[in-house]
């Protein structure tokens, strides 16, 4: 790399070596990028490009090598330091928060100083989006954006930071032509201003269009670096391909039989118009750069998605449903789709063949063991025992368990997606042999692999896909790694979604945005309250008298405060079952300190103690969940029981009358309205504002929306979650203050009901139990409506039964209406 450089390199990596569990991912790699330069990074799937960039952004620490940034040697590069230095990366998988609006996504991800003055925030955000040609409303939820729009948002975030070095990881994959042109012109402008750009791509055409220099990696090693103008496509291809073969493949089909698989005009989500025939004894391979529709194709062939066109196996056309039942699908994502990790090897292998092992109706263990063990042993699965959990096995042996399940199920067709990913070399050879045996037995075998060399060795026929289209079909002596890669990297097709028209500006009307927004439930609740109130008033003229209004709002005050705390717990995707008993315990504590005639000091001590206990409980809840990995239900249920115990420990029967003066102060009112309710309303408004406009609120919603993305944009997830439980307890404390005046005595039995009613109020207010979206105003309205309904029972002279019936219907109808509205909006967004 001894090129004469007039300027200092922006980033220079020398002699980088990185190993994972002893396997070298990078060996002695040099890479540098200069200011005002676009440096393309080329290489096959798994050549080490992403690993190298993870080293460059501080995500991985190299085992050897040095990093220099603008002439300064960097000892240890951390993600934090990297972003401080001005290194920005646009990942293939955007770190966005689906439940937040476009504007909130930008504000949550970017530093505050970026949006100063705050009143210009909208204008600044709009300019950012315009800069990358993203034409969406700032108020749209990111969940409703298309894949391409989400990518543009991610790119906008990277540009906003005005980085010194920008890494673009296959940025054009989901984009249409216009967006790509716009992106390129933006990149060129940045480069002109002296920014250094690393551009990872698989497309030679893009390298020619954008890059000044190109570095090629293969097998984690440097293959060369050159100025783009001085190298031909053929020379580049030679550098990319030619990996060493690590293992032998079984012999290919010598005498193919009749056609046993025929796809005609096979189209589905993410790919289109695949027509191909395969013969008995042949293995069909699917090649291409990862993420070009291959996995969608495999999923659809396994019957998991609907398709158009026909699939004939052995001369019979199969529907999607039949494919689902009769195909053996080996998913690429074994962990999530392939195996139940907490079940045993035997249970996983046998699951689709159980009917074969039954005597009368019961599964016979000897029969099951005999057949399943025979298959497992034939596949040479290595495990401590057949009853060991699958999670204890190596990747290769797990894949063999999936294959054993496939074999035992006697499938019509085998669909293997990345069957050797994460599998050790020894097990690979056995997997190849098995796939060959299945194929020879007459069952069509389709293999998708990101490893072209593997397909060259294994398959009799390979189709190459690019952005959802078949761009080449190879057989015989044409079936080589070189041809596959050439077809993939020289393809210029546009993504299927681009052609479908699902890319591009989808405009949402103001009304439908409101319906899917956070305030639709609140509006609904207000309408319900007015209708209900009007009806009761028509039945009973005393309904709106001062006493009744005061009583409704008073009851709603305690519930409202506690429910606000619950809202915070739900916003982060958790739940706090302990709020009810906590409020009860705090009142019991108060009953020892705040009595008639207590000195001020005693009253203050009581309040202080209540606050300390509340905060401690919140801290404990949060720590159990984050550090001991309890589920939120288990942790707060344990706390629920314990707090109840402490209440009874302090008072086994109601005692300790609360000071009338203090009660009077707490329950003082303005006209018919309790002062405490006014405080509740102000608190809700302030919190609501903070939830939308302050980092506190973005962090809460971001964490609940997508923990992983939240972490990637730099939110301290642990602290956010633990603090959420502390806040939840704090508001239980606020509720308890009103409750102590209302109850007037330390009663250990009181309070527990607030757990379930607080959840009810929050759900009525439209806060999602999945986290990420909600509203404090809605919660307070929910609390008032709930109390109003209880109160209505009395006024209408109905029996207690109706209390429960109304309560049940209210929560169910609200849950159904909100969830149906949300799903419809989602489907519209995806259509």
């Amino acid at each position: 790399m001894a090129k004469s450089t007039t300027s200092t390199a922006t980033l220079s990596l020398t002699g980088i070596t990185k190993r994972f569990a002893g396997v070298a991912a990078l060996t002695d790699v040099d890479f540098e990028v200069r200011p005002g330069e676009v440096h393309a990074l080329l290489g096959e799937n798994g050549a080490g490009k992403s690993t190298l960039m993870n080293v460059a952004t501080g995500t991985y620490q190299p085992d050897a090598g040095t990093i220099t940034f603008e002439g300064q040697p960097i000892g240890t590069l951390t993600p934090k330091l990297a972003s401080k230095l001005g290194i920005a990366i646009v990942h293939q998988h955007p770190a966005v928060l689906p439940d937040l609006s476009v504007e909130d996504n930008l504000r949550a991800s970017l530093p505050d100083k970026f949006f100063t003055p705050a009143r210009d925030a909208k204008k600044i955000a709009t300019e950012l989006l315009a800069g990358v040609g993203l034409d969406v409303d700032l108020r749209d939820r990111v969940e409703d954006l298309s894949v391409a729009q989400t990518h543009l948002l991610e790119i906008a975030k990277a540009f906003a930071l005005k980085p010194r070095l920008m890494i673009l990881d296959e940025p054009t994959a989901p984009l249409g032509k216009e967006a790509v042109d716009l992106l390129f012109s933006r990149v060129r402008a940045e480069v002109k201003a002296g920014v250094a750009v690393v551009y990872i791509t698989h497309r030679l055409a893009e390298v020619r269009e954008m890059a000044d220099r190109v570095t090629v990696l293969r097998d984690g090693k440097m293959r060369g670096v050159s100025e783009v103008a001085k190298i031909t496509d053929e020379e580049l291809l030679t550098m990319i391909i030619g990996r060493e073969l690590e293992h032998t493949f079984p012999a290919k089909s010598s005498k193919p039989g009749d056609v046993n698989l025929r796809l005609t005009g096979f189209s589905g989500k993410g790919f289109t118009n695949v027509s191909i025939e395969s013969r008995r004894g042949e293995i069909l391979g699917i090649s291409g750069v990862v993420g070009n529709g291959q996995s969608d194709f495999m999923k659809t062939l396994a019957g998991l998605e609907n398709f158009s066109g026909t699939v004939e196996v052995g001369g019979t056309a199969l529907s999607s449903r039949e494919l689902l039942r009769r195909s053996a699908y080996l998913p690429a994502d074994r962990l999530h789709e392939g195996l139940a990790m907490t079940l045993s090897v035997r249970e996983n292998a046998a699951i689709l063949a159980l009917r074969k092992f039954t005597n009368v109706k019961l599964i016979s263990a000897p029969k099951e063991n005999k057949t399943v063990l025979a298959t497992l042993n034939e596949l040479a699965v290595k495990a401590p025992s057949a009853d060991a959990n699958v999670s204890a096995l190596s990747g290769g042996n797990q894949q063999k368990v999936v294959m054993a399940r496939a074999l035992l199920s006697e499938p019509l067709i085998v669909v293997a997606d990345e069957p050797t990913q994460g599998v050790d070399v020894g097990a690979r050879a056995e997997i190849y042999r098995l796939l060959r045996e299945i194929s020879e037995s007459g069952v069509p075998v389709i293999v998708n692999s990101s490893d072209a060399k593997e397909l060259e060795g294994l398959c009799d026929q390979v189709i190459v896909m690019s952005r959802g289209h078949v761009v080449d079909s190879l057989r015989g002596k044409d079936l080589t790694e070189a041809r596959m890669i050439k077809s993939a990297v020289t393809a210029t097709t546009q993504s299927v979604s681009v052609i479908d028209g699902s890319y591009g500006a989808r405009k949402t009307s103001g009304f439908s945005r409101f319906l899917s927004g956070d305030y639709a439930p609140s509006a609904l609740l207000v309408v319900l309250m007015v209708v209900l109130g009007g009806f009761i008033l028509s039945q009973n003229g005393k309904y709106l008298n001062e006493f009744n209004i005061n009583s409704i709002l008073g009851l709603a005050t305690a519930l409202g405060f506690i429910a606000i705390g619950q809202t915070i717990a739900l916003l982060i995707g958790g739940i706090d079952l302990s709020v009810g008993p906590l409020a009860g315990l705090l009142v019991v504590i108060a009953s020892f300190f705040i009595n008639d005639g207590s000195p001020l000091g005693s009253i203050l001590t009581g309040l202080g103690l209540m606050l300390v206990v509340a905060l401690l409980v919140g801290l404990l809840n949060g720590s159990m969940i984050r550090y001991l990995k309890f589920t939120a239900i288990a942790a707060t249920l344990t706390m629920y029981i314990a707090l109840q115990g402490f209440s009874f420990l302090l008072r086994d029967a109601p005692d300790g009358y609360i000071s009338a003066d203090v009660s009077g102060l707490i329950t003082s009112k303005v006209g018919p309205i309790p002062v405490a309710f006014l405080i509740l309303a102000i608190v809700a408004v302030v919190l609501e504002w903070a939830l939308r406009n302050r980092r506190w609120g973005w962090n809460l919603r971001a964490t609940g929306s997508n923990e992983e993305s939240a972490r990637r944009i730099g939110i301290n997830v642990n602290r956010t979650m633990i603090m959420a439980y502390v806040w939840s307890s704090f508001f239980a404390f606020a509720g308890a203050i009103y409750l102590l005046a209302q109850l007037g005595v330390g009663d250990p039995k009181q309070g527990v009901n607030y757990t379930l009613s607080s959840i009810t109020a929050v759900v009525l207010g439209g806060t999602s139990l999945l986290g990420g979206r909600g509203s404090f105003l809605g919660t307070v309205l929910g609390a008032v409506l709930l109390i109003q309904v209880m109160n209505a029972i009395v006024f209408l002279g109905l029996t207690d039964m109706w209390t429960y019936v109304f309560q049940g219907l209210l929560i169910l109808v609200a849950a159904i209406v909100y969830s149906v509205a949300r799903n419809r909006q989602k489907q519209k967004g995806r259509a």
Binding site: F20, A21, V23, A25, T51, N54, P331, H336, E337, G338, L339, A340, T342, R346, N348, I351, L352, L354, R355, I363, A365, L373, L376, N377, A380, S385, A386, D387, R405, M624, T631, I633, A634, A635, L637, T638, Y640, I641, A642, G645, F646, S647, F648, L649, L650, L756, I759, L769, L770, D800, M801, T803, Y804, Q807, G808, I811, L812, A815, I816, V820
Partner: protein, 342 residues
């Protein structure tokens, strides 16, 4: 077959595996018994043991129902309403006449299956959150409780008292019923095709879907099976406590979740441990008896329960191996970061 190594790698099935949950609960129960016998002998007297078995049986049946729901990654808060409704139907419908019992059974089961189907529809089909849906169903069930009872308790019929509250060979009848329920749950979930698929779907719904299993049906129906067990428990309670009140089911909500968790079934779903859940019910009830016999207040009993639950969850969820390695690496001085391979 390219067998390159010796026969030592031939896979065998190991039978009679004892789950961690069962082992933990069995040892805990044994220790508790020794403690009870030495520190509070009255807690292991014949009368106390008999009532212990009776109430353990009820909790075990309810706990097994909750376990089926938890296995599908859900949670059932409608336990309270369901048990209460079963109790009032079993005592109100016969109105003191023994020949009304069959009708009470029919009504009770019909309500139970109806409530189960409602939950199944809301959670399996509409994909509502289990907490919200069962909270709503619970309120509706209490509405039905008050509709049936009118708020006035009714004495159970003599036959029901004899059947549910009686003894056979010195052991309460309810315990026999609980054992039969346990046997059925074990056999159906471990020995039938449907049961094995049920566990698979609960352990990994996405994998179940990719295999073509009926994920929604299994998930939804778990609530129906649970309701049937709640009904059975309520029916027995009606016989045991001759004059039942309308809200007796409330006392079972938290313990039902506690025994499931103590038995080792993960709240995230997957494999169920029916025997361990059963033993956990015995343990929790004996803990009550022990603490009562010691003469300490009800409060301590509750706190001990919470502590047992916390320790129980910690045993199953905390990754003790990683804790040990972290501690030892801290002692050694150099914590080693090992990022996952890309």
């Amino acid at each position: 077959m390219t067998q390159t190594e010796t026969g030592s790698r031939v896979l065998k099935a190991s039978r009679f595996r004892l789950s961690k949950g069962l082992l933990t609960m069995a040892i805990s129960l044994a220790v508790l018994f020794v403690l009870s016998a030495t520190l509070a002998p009255s807690s292991v007297s014949v009368n106390v043991v008999s009532s212990w078995l009776q109430f353990s049986a009820i909790l075990a049946i309810i706990g097994l129902g909750q376990m089926l729901v938890v296995q599908q990654g859900g949670i059932d808060l409608s336990v309270a309403g369901a048990v209460s409704l079963a109790i009032v139907v079993s005592s109100q419908v016969p109105n003191g006449h023994d020949d009304g019992i069959p009708l009470a059974i029919v009504y009770g089961l019909a309500y139970a299956i109806g409530a189960g189907l409602l939950n199944a529809f809301l959670i399996g089909f509409l994909k509502l959150n289990a907490i919200i849906a069962t909270l709503g169903t619970n309120a509706l069930l209490f509405g039905a409780v008050l509709m049936v009872s009118g708020g006035i308790p009714q004495i159970s019929t003599q036959l029901l008292q004899d059947l549910a509250g009686g003894d056979t060979f010195g052991i309460p009848n309810s315990m026999y019923v609980a054992l039969v329920v346990l046997l059925i749950v074990v056999v159906v979930s471990k020995k039938t095709v449907a049961g094995r698929r049920f566990e698979m779907v609960g352990a990994n719904p996405r994998a179940g879907k990719a295999m073509g299993l009926r994920v929604r049906s299994h998930e939804g129906l778990s609530y129906v099976w649970a309701q049937i067990l709640y009904w059975l428990a309520g029916f027995l309670i009606a016989g045991i406590t001759t004059q039942p009140t309308a809200y007796m089911g409330n006392a079972y909500l938290l313990p039902s979740v506690a025994v499931v968790v103590l038995g080792g079934t993960s709240l995230l779903g997957g494999r169920g441990y029916p025997v361990a859940t059963f033993v956990a019910a015995l343990f929790l009830k004996q803990l009550d008896q022990f603490v009562i016999s010691l003469g300490v207040p009800y409060a301590v009993q509750t706190i001990v329960q919470a502590a047992a639950l916390a320790i129980g969850v910690a045993i199953y969820t905390v990754n003790w191996r990683s804790v040990r390695t972290r501690i030892s690496s801290l002692v050694a001085g150099k914590p080693k970061a090992a990022p996952a391979a890309s």
